[in-house]
């Protein structure tokens, strides 16, 4: 298990350097999107419309936070189960999505796309939402506000602790 501190957006050299099982601290911009946002983004693509953010080179955090108390940036903010996004993910990877943060298994189709498109899938610790919220220093809803917790947020993270589950070399922890 190696340890890395990586800035976002992910550089190709960083993606190639990390391997399944490595511990990584991420700093930079990530976008939150989960079930309902993925469905809407996919529908937007089918209609030929633009996505709410530039997917090329981006990192998505599968997250629906709890509301922030006054004075807080965000509420509890841990990962949700990634496999529910599997149906939508290969198309996003083919458009340039480079990183995903979630938890749990991915489908073979997603793993293949991660290799093909040279991307990486990280897991954050599920159930550690209070701790992880401390690594989010800025958060702003940028699309689909009506979805409540499932809206798309642009977030700045600092030293967010994650573990590489699936790397671009075809290796996976599980």
């Amino acid at each position: 298990m190696a340890e890395f501190h990586i800035g976002l957006p992910l550089k190709e050299s960083d993606i190639e350097a990390v391997h399944a099982g490595d511990y990584v601290y991420l700093t930079g911009t990530v976008y939150s999107a989960r079930d309902a946002a993925h469905k809407r983004m996919t529908e937007a693509l089918e209609k030929g419309e633009k996505l709410p953010f530039d997917i090329n080179g981006s990192v998505i955090y599968y997250l629906g936070p709890s509301p922030a108390r006054p004075g807080q940036v965000i509420g509890s903010a841990g990962p949700t189960t990634s496999s529910r996004m599997d149906k939508y993910t290969p198309a996003l990877l083919d458009l340039g999505l480079k990183g995903m943060i979630g938890k749990g298994r991915r489908s073979e189709e997603v793993k293949d796309a991660i290799k093909r498109d040279k991307a990486v899938y990280f897991a954050a610790v599920g159930g550690a939402g209070a701790l992880l919220s401390k690594c989010i220093i800025k958060s702003e809803v940028i699309a689909y506000e009506d979805l409540g917790t499932e809206a798309v947020r642009k977030m700045e993270v600092k030293e967010l602790p994650v573990i590489v589950v699936t790397d671009c070399h075809g290796n996976s922890v599980y």
């Binding site: 709890s66 509301p67 922030a68 807080q72 509420g75 509890s76 610790v125 939402g129």
Partner: protein, 280 residues
């Protein structure tokens, strides 16, 4: 003697219990996690368990929910037959949930229709299980249930010939299938007997029991202990990254069943096994 109870008293209690459950785990679960963080031999596993301990402290001290999935509010109520309420029980429960999730800055995770999927924006309705019991008290258990683990739960309609081995295999199968998806270390609630829906309710009830205490039935207590050991040998480990700590507790509840059946429900919960009980 009939005891008059105001619905507002029930609403207020449920509001407070929703918040309490989401900020602080019960001592039995907390102690198990702290102990596991100390004894775990896996390298990543130990690091993750350390984060879970730190997470519990931050949650308690800063009033940030332990997990962002603050759950669908499952409410068990045992209502004394001599109690009379001054209004609608269901409305009172939902009013409590609504206020708890709003005032406690908890996530609203409920959609109005399972297919149309528009968020109700107040986390109602709750899932309410009511039973009538002798007396004039009201016992309320609020157990907010996250769906990362709920999605990995299973019902097995076994045959009587499958027996104890069949039950054990079902529990092992459910935990293995849950694997990294259910945020291990998990707590496992098992319902054996009854019928299709009864075993599932028993499994959920089992999760509200102290995980440090075994079943009063010796043959069931033995299975609980055996499965705890067996599940921790699967090597799934915290977060699914390997280790000795896959499961914090296995609680089993039983009920009589039909001569033709052996229903088994396995309700998977993550380490954030939340439940608060009060008697009014």
């Amino acid at each position: 003697m009939i005891r008059e109870v105001s619905c507002s008293l029930i609403s207020k209690a449920i509001e407070e219990m929703c918040i309490e459950a989401n900020l602080s785990l019960t001592d039995d679960v907390r102690e198990k996690i702290v102990l596991a963080a100390d004894t775990e031999t896996g390298v990543i596993a130990k690091k993750i368990l350390g984060q879970l301990v730190e997470n519990m402290e931050i949650a308690k001290n800063e009033a940030i929910p332990i997990c962002q999935d603050t759950g669908m509010a499952v409410v068990f109520m045992e209502i004394g037959q001599d109690v009379h309420l001054d209004g609608s029980l269901t409305d009172a429960v939902n009013e409590g949930v609504r206020n708890g999730y709003e005032h406690g800055y908890l996530r609203k995770s409920v959609v109005e229709d399972p297919l149309i999927r528009v968020n109700t924006k107040d986390n109602t309705p709750a899932i309410l299980h009511v039973s009538l019991v002798p007396g004039d008290k009201i016992k309320i258990t609020v157990a907010p249930k996250g769906f990362g683990s709920e999605n990995m739960s299973r019902v097995y309609m076994l045959k009587p010939a499958d027996g104890e081995e069949g039950v054990k295999n079902a529990i092992l199968d459910a935990v293995k299938q849950a694997g990294p998806n259910a945020c291990p270390p998990m707590t496992v609630g098992v319902g054996i007997g009854g019928d299709f829906e009864m075993c599932a309710i028993l499994a959920k009830k089992a999760l509200t029991r102290d995980i440090s205490k075994r079943s009063e039935k010796p043959h069931i207590a033995r299975i609980e202990e055996e499965m705890l050991e067996k599940l921790n040998k699967t090597g799934i480990g915290p977060g699914g990254f390997g280790g000795d700590t896959t499961v914090l507790g296995v609680n089993i509840e039983t009920y009589p069943t039909h001569i033709a059946g052996l229903p088994v429900a396995v309700n998977i919960c993550c380490h954030v096994n939340r439940h608060v009980t009060r008697v009014l």
